[in-house]
């Protein structure tokens, strides 16, 4: 089915923040940010800059009428720095200018004196210095304190995982437009309109109803605009109300890269105990999360790391602890997978290392420990409709894993300069916000008198196709042509108290709400049609392809006529509806409960080829069996899976965030931070839909898709290090991600001995 939003994309007609026609007199905001990662402001002089050409005003925290506070979970984040500076890129002042150029020039006229303090950038360093966001959290089941000496094999190790820049192609931005009576409308590039509205209300000291947030679409987000679209939207609103002029704030790419947070880097220690056959008896892990300077969503993200610490496996004795550490980096934030990928990467590392010691292929250990119905997740939820084993076995059969493996072995025998590696990556990902209260959504459906339909929900379209899915479920509910349906902007005045479009739940929550609203109207239509047709039972009225049927028999009543008559008879053609995911709860004093409505499962087979001489590699193929439930739109879902896989591969291969010891981001442009291009994406991505899967919680029995496929990318990492080991069988690789060409080469060869001094500069 054609995704009508994309018709505009291919013609360049889709509008983003930078494309809107601005109201007369719109001003431009440019941010003056901290040049140091840790320090105290001794003096801030904005007077010279204020007198600059084209400068209207410069705002600091002193201009905030409400609270200087935008922290979401923990109230620890100022909108504009007051005395202390915590990371390079922390906003200090907002320059309001006639043009962006004028604002940029004025930046250099602001005088600031800072007492610079030593910066912490390394997560272990932060932990040792006691620099924590909050207390550690532990999930456990069974007994891991004792019994280690009972297991045949115990492996311990450390894993280091890099962060990841979202690199949404559209940078953060917002336009604030004054409305009468000290009110403001904010057009924002946010995943969370209510998050923006609430923060703006707090900062401006206004009730929420005075702030309208409107979102058309985002040019990519991936979690990066769940919480971090907020400051820019609030700043534009602050300036807008102060000056009573429209204000646009769009971050330049270099500002966006420097100022905004990324996927969290982690360091972890693990200990795993297994029988000599490969059955995992116990697993213990401590995750040190590099949160950056303030909490942002870090605690929730860390919790999801703990929820996914055993990936698809059942382990009877387990204890996992998460420690969120405060460093002098921009606040790290949500990114597709939300901590889950890091949790899964560590258990897969432990299995890889255990397989070396046991001399059993990792794939055997994986297979032996998959979770099945009857097992309980260590957070208290029972595994139900577990498709872990089904997906794994289907991947092995469908793709003829043994043959693939044989081919790899043969290739390696025949080639000296290239070695291949193969890895399997099962994924089990829980669906629902783990903060149970967020699992709610609203929808507002209008049927107009011409039969066209308008749908508003809390869902944000950011490329993931949620609008297309909602359109589809509404069209199916009414049984009308999809072209009759329009999805409106996401707007806090139409839909209040929205949850961010995140945690893969956008289509589930909002699709279900839209179905309920549509059914409300449909019921009225049925009732009216029965009366109109002189029939007794409204429940025997059906609409099929825009024609009214009674008891299976076609009538002459068609959609447009029906709607007109309904209107004429003074029956409401609008409905607001509400959906809350049933059956979910989580007790945080025990860390037990039923946090997820359901789980998504799948397995990937990944093959990589490493150029032994040059240390470069390619991911040859990724073959997946994925549990989509009953897909609402197979093309949209396929695109989500493929896109997630390549993003996951990017995270663990070429996407390397580099900071110097002063906390300055060195990979601060697209020429120094590389994401996969059309050549480095796998030549062959095959995705098969798991057959006969269903899901009672998803609209039309579908399953959420946004995040789970991202984690198939983990297979790429292990296929590369397997290939390296196929060249050097004894190689004891330190598990550090991403596995850049540099790390490949430095692992394969001794460094060159040289007497020449090596200068270190950054």
């Amino acid at each position: 089915m054609k995704n009508t939003d994309t018709m505009k994309h291919v013609r360049g007609e889709s509008l983003f923040i930078d494309d809107f026609t601005l109201p007369e007199g719109t001003l431009h905001a440019v941010i003056f940010d901290s040049p140091v990662a840790n320090g105290k402001i001794k003096l801030l002089d904005i007077e010279n800059a204020k007198a600059g050409k084209g400068i209207i005003d410069i705002l600091t925290f002193k201009d905030i009428p409400g609270q200087n506070q935008i922290g979401n979970i923990i109230q620890d984040e100022t909108l504009l720095a007051e005395k202390e500076l915590h990371y390079i890129g922390e906003p200090i002042a907002i320059i309001i200018a006639e043009s962006v150029d004028a604002g940029e020039k004025a930046k250099h006229l602001i005088q600031i004196d800072i007492e610079e303090l030593p910066a912490i950038t390394d997560v272990r360093d932060a932990f040792e210095k006691g620099s924590l966001i909050t207390d550690p959290v532990t999930f456990s089941m069974g007994n891991v304190e004792k019994n280690w000496d009972l297991y045949d094999v115990v492996v311990e190790g450390q894993v280091d995982i890099g962060g990841q820049e979202h690199l949404y192609l559209e940078t953060q931005g917002a336009i604030a437009i004054p409305a009468e009576g000290n009110e403001v409308k904010i057009i924002s590039s946010t995943q969370g309109p209510t998050v923006v509205q609430r923060a703006a209300a707090k900062v401006l000291g206004l009730p929420m109803h005075k702030i309208e947030v409107d979102v058309l679409r985002l040019g990519g987000a991936f979690g990066g605009k769940e919480d971090q679209a907020t400051p820019w939207a609030v700043m534009s609103a602050l300036a807008c109300l102060k000056l009573n002029r429209p204000v646009k704030l769009l971050l330049d790419r270099s500002d966006d890269l420097r100022m905004t947070g990324k996927r969290h880097p982690y360091s972890a220690d693990y200990k795993i105990g297994l029988s000599k056959e490969g059955k995992i008896a116990a697993y213990e892990a401590t995750f040190y999360q590099n949160a950056g300077a303030v909490a942002d969503l870090s605690t929730a993200i860390l919790e999801r790391t703990l929820f996914h610490a055993t990936n698809s496996y059942f382990i009877p004795n387990i204890k996992v602890t998460g420690i969120s550490c405060k460093t002098n980096l921009p606040p790290n934030t949500a990114f597709r997978g939300f901590g889950g990928p890091q949790g899964m990467f560590v258990i897969e590392s432990a299995i890889f290392k255990a397989s070396e010691k046991l001399k059993i292929p990792a794939t055997e250990i994986q297979k032996m420990n998959l979770i099945k119905d009857g097992d309980q997740f260590y957070y208290g939820q029972n595994a139900e409709n577990s498709n872990a084993i089904k997906c794994f076995n289907m991947a092995i059969e469908k793709y003829n894993f043994d043959k693939l493996k044989e081919n790899v072995v043969r290739f390696n025998k025949q080639n000296k300069l290239f070695k291949k590696g193969i890895a399997l990556m099962p994924v089990c990902f829980g669906i629902s916000f783990t903060s149970s209260f967020l699992n709610q959504a609203g929808a507002l459906v209008h049927v107009y008198t011409d039969g066209s339909i308008s749908v508003s929900t809390a869902a944000i379209e950011m490329g993931q196709g949620v609008n297309q899915k909602i359109k589809t479920v509404v069209a199916k509910t009414f049984s009308v042509d999809i072209s009759r349906i329009k999805i409106e902007t996401t707007n806090t005045t139409r839909i209040a108290n929205t949850s961010a479009t995140a945690a893969s739940t956008g289509a589930d929550l909002n699709g279900n709400a839209a179905i309920i609203a549509s059914k409300n109207i449909l019921e009225r239509l049925q009732k009216f049609a029965a009366k109109e047709l002189g029939k007794e039972y409204p429940n025997l009225i059906e609409i099929k392809n825009e024609t009214v049927f009674y008891d299976g028999n076609e009538t002459t009543l068609k959609w447009e006529e029906l709607i007109w008559k309904v209107y004429f008879n003074r029956i409401c053609l609008s409905s607001q509806a509400y959906y809350a995911t049933p059956d979910i709860y989580f007790n945080r004093s025990k860390n037990k409960g039923h946090p997820f409505a359901y789980h998504v499962y799948g397995t990937a087979v990944v093959i990589s080829k490493v150029d032994i001489l040059r240390g470069i590699y390619e991911i040859e193929s990724v073959k997946v069996i994925h549990d989509f439930g009953k897909s609402i739109d197979t093309k949209v879902d396929l695109g989500q899976a493929e896109g997630g896989i390549v993003q996951g591969i990017g995270w663990l291969t070429v996407e390397e965030l580099v900071q110097n010891s002063e906390g300055k981001l060195l990979s601060n442009s697209l020429s120094t931070y590389k994401i996969p291009d059309i050549y480095s994406a796998p030549k062959n991505i095959e995705i098969h839909f798991l057959e006969d899967s269903t899901n009672n919680y998803g609209p039309l029995k579908s399953k959420a898709i946004g995040e789970p496929p991202f984690m198939y990318g983990i297979g790429a990492y292990f296929s590369i290090i397997s290939a390296m080991k196929n060249f050097k069988p004894g190689l004891d690789i330190k598990i550090t991600a991403p596995i850049t060409p540099e790390r490949v080469l430095m692992n394969l060869y001794e460094p060159i001995k040289t007497t020449a001094p090596t200068k270190q500069t950054h």
């Binding site: 360049g12 695109g639 896989i645 590389k674 460094p751």
Partner: protein, 473 residues
């Protein structure tokens, strides 16, 4: 008053007095309110701002893709600039249709750039192949799709149009009929002709202005400085030639990377180079970047400079009245320090026509294989007679403050037998010549190791018979 710049923008003739240093993207988006062309990186690294630039060459309109975010307006003069809006018709064109069908667009921000690049391929090639069409998209980055659906859309487009285009040809009339281009393209040829009669923008020599070649690095490094300056553009007409004279191959200063890659002369003498040039930048950047710009920019990892060093290139410098000749390897005095006077500029680059026994190779490793800046790159040029090295030239980038000619290593290799032992000693000497530093492209230790590996790779690639791979890895 600044000179007027005249060109055709989509279906409209445009004359403007904006600074020639203004970027084409700014003009398109801000002055013309054509917002389909997107700004993402402002360094030509993502392709979201790709547009077509067509110009009359031998009475034919030849289109190229360029990244408008770093393309000076001065260069648009006399051209036909096509944005996504300029491709739109009432119904979707074939590539647009297939992108929609295959779900090859998600958030939509990169999409116009992809459509432009694919359309460029379709209108400039007669015999379509999927691989070549994909190569045309090498400079376009997408963060959403993972490219699989884009590749499917390209396959469908190519398969649909392959036979009709092959039989009918790529005349504009056919491309319009086949629903690749809108109708107005049929009037562009005449439009450009009449435009060129008038004065478009022309550069005048003025020592105070910045001289810009392609601008592909200058606009990245010094965007705000360059755009607030007046600029002169390297004369893209009179200094644009590749020729053989006596025993030299001669390249005019404004020869672009892509012209260098596609040159029949270079294909004849250095047949491997065309393929290796794919490792350098992306097509839209290669369409803009000039040889002289690459040399004078003095980046220590400048790919083309590294190649020219191994080809023993010489520069002809001029201050418009006097000329002076200098070896490229002697041109660099230190980090971004050149043996060049303020008013001198590079007029041409020469290097000797390779002998019949030559062996040439270029190696480059970067984090990402394509459209990335090298961690280390190196080129080698060897004359080998009966298993002996008659002469050797080897260069390396990313291992010193300048693009480095490995003088001692080159000298050592001369008159040596081609053997593992010779290579072993050469590797040691090379290490003594370099002084890499740790930066975002890799640690110093890595760059040392990498150069070592890449020199080995030269010999393995060039002499698979003579050099035993087993002893090297």
């Amino acid at each position: 008053m600044v000179d007027s710049i005249s060109f055709i923008l989509n279906n409209e003739q445009v004359s403007t007095h904006v600074y020639p240093s203004t970027t084409l993207l700014n003009f398109i988006r801000k002055d013309k309110k054509l917002t389909g062309t997107k700004l993402v990186c402002r360094e030509g690294d993502c392709g979201a701002c790709t547009v077509l630039a067509g110009e009359l060459v031998n009475d034919k309109v030849i289109y190229k893709t360029v990244t408008s975010c770093i393309y000076p307006m001065g260069k648009a003069a006399g051209k036909h600039i096509v944005t996504i809006e300029g491709l739109n018709k009432q119904e979707l064109t074939v590539p647009q249709h297939e992108f929609v069908e295959e779900g090859a667009t998600q958030c939509g921000f990169c999409t116009p750039g992809f459509i432009i690049s694919l359309t460029w391929y379709l209108i400039t090639h007669k015999n379509y192949s999927v691989d070549d069409a994909i190569n045309g998209l090498g400079g376009n980055i997408c963060r959403c799709t993972g490219y699989a659906s884009i590749i499917r859309a390209v396959e469908k487009t190519v398969n649909k149009l392959k036979d009709p285009v092959c039989t009918q040809g790529v005349q504009v009339k056919n491309l319009i009929e086949l629903n690749i281009l809108p109708q107005y393209f049929s009037s562009i040829h005449a439009g450009l002709k009449s435009l060129n009669m008038k004065t478009a923008y022309s550069s005048k020599s003025n020592g105070e202005n910045i001289l810009v070649g392609g601008g592909t690095d200058l606009y990245v490094q010094k965007y705000r400085t360059v755009t607030s300056y007046r600029i002169n553009l390297i004369d893209s007409k009179s200094l644009n030639y590749i020729k053989v004279e006596k025993k030299d191959i001669i390249l005019g200063a404004s020869v672009t990377f892509e012209q260098f890659k596609q040159s029949e002369i270079l294909k004849k003498y250095l047949p491997r180079l065309e393929n290796q040039m794919n490792l350098i930048a992306s097509l839209p950047i290669r369409n803009s970047a000039t040889i002289a710009g690459n040399i004078v920019n003095a980046s220590p990892i400048a790919d083309l400079t590294i190649i020219l060093l191994a080809l023993d290139a010489t520069l002809v410098l001029t201050d418009s009245s006097n000329e002076r000749i200098i070896k490229l390897k002697n041109f660099y005095k230190g980090y971004k320090l050149l043996d060049k006077l303020e008013n001198e500029f590079i007029k041409e680059v020469r290097f000797p026509v390779p002998s019949s026994n030559f062996n040439f190779n270029f190696e480059k490793v970067s984090k990402r294989m394509y459209l990335d800046i090298a961690s280390v790159n190196t080129a080698i040029f060897l004359d080998v007679e009966n298993g002996n090295v008659a002469s050797a030239k080897i260069s390396a980038g990313g291992v010193a403050p300048i693009p480095l000619f490995l003088e001692k290593t080159s000298k050592y290799l001369q008159d040596k037998a081609l053997s593992i032992e010779t290579l072993g000693s050469a590797l040691e000497i090379a290490q003594s010549e370099i002084s890499p530093i740790s930066d975002v492209r890799g640690s110093a230790e890595y760059k040392r190791l990498l150069l070592n590996q890449l020199i080995k790779a030269h010999f393995i690639s060039l002499f698979p018979q003579e050099i035993n791979i087993g002893e090297l890895v």
